[in-house]
């Protein structure tokens, strides 16, 4: 029954949007971070989504067919390559010889807007799952 695979599709959407929200929150939290393990200031990160085939191994083996509709997955994380923002802070311990400190180029407005998009996307996937759950429950009612 294909309805059960719809749950996996919705779940893939929820997982991907949550991963995106995590990265966006990380960006906001590190908006002023000047030290990272890689050295230099923090760099803004974002996700790249790609559509995938989903479906449980059981279902695909059982029905012997390739599912035509796909879910979504995080294909990769991209790091911002823009030059860091230089602020003149001679007293700062991370200041260079000229007294400038490299700060991450994180725009809180940009991240907040993306975060709202991620939250809305998550909600939409939850709505899809609950609608399908209702349909499955209706089908099961036929047995009673």
């Amino acid at each position: 029954m294909s309805l059960f695979s719809v749950l996996s599709i919705g779940a893939s959407g929820m997982a991907s949007q949550r991963a995106r929200a995590e990265l966006l929150t990380e960006n906001l939290a590190n908006a002023e971070t000047t030290r990272t393990p890689e050295g230099g200031p923090y760099r803004r990160k974002d996700v790249v989504f790609a559509s995938t085939e989903v479906g449980s191994p059981f279902a695909s083996v059982f029905s012997g067919e390739l599912e035509s509709a796909g879910g979504v997955a995080v294909a990769g994380v991209v790091t911002d390559t823009r030059d860091p923002e230089r602020r003149y802070l001679p007293g700062h311990p991370d200041a260079d010889a000229e007294g400038y400190v490299a700060f991450p180029r994180v725009n809180p407005a940009e991240d907040m807007v993306d975060l709202m998009g991620a939250a809305r996307g998550y909600e939409a996937n939850v709505a899809a799952i609950s609608a399908v759950k209702d349909m499955i429950a209706r089908s099961l009612d036929l047995l009673r």
Partner: protein, 111 residues
Amino acid sequence: MLDRVAGQLERYMDLLSARQKLVASNIANLDTPGYRTRDVDFQSEFQSAAGLNPEVVEVTGLPVKNDGNNVNLDRESRLLAENALRFQVASSLMRAQIHTVESAINGGGQS
């Protein structure tokens, strides 16, 4: 009697499931760059009633965003609700059909 009507209802519910799956897939790919909205041609698929697997088509006429994605959340939400309601109607009708046969088996009296 049960065969014909129930067969049609089964086909209808199958198509609704297939469509709901595509809607869920569209919603999941709301932010996937280059993804195009997919759907089934409900009327023609229902009338053809040939194969079990409906043909998936790309929806045309939707505004495309800068990243090449053309998923419209309003459209998908509407279809999500519509499909769920249609499915509800179909399953109620199916239940009524089953009930009819059940009462015939029980002799119509007690059930």
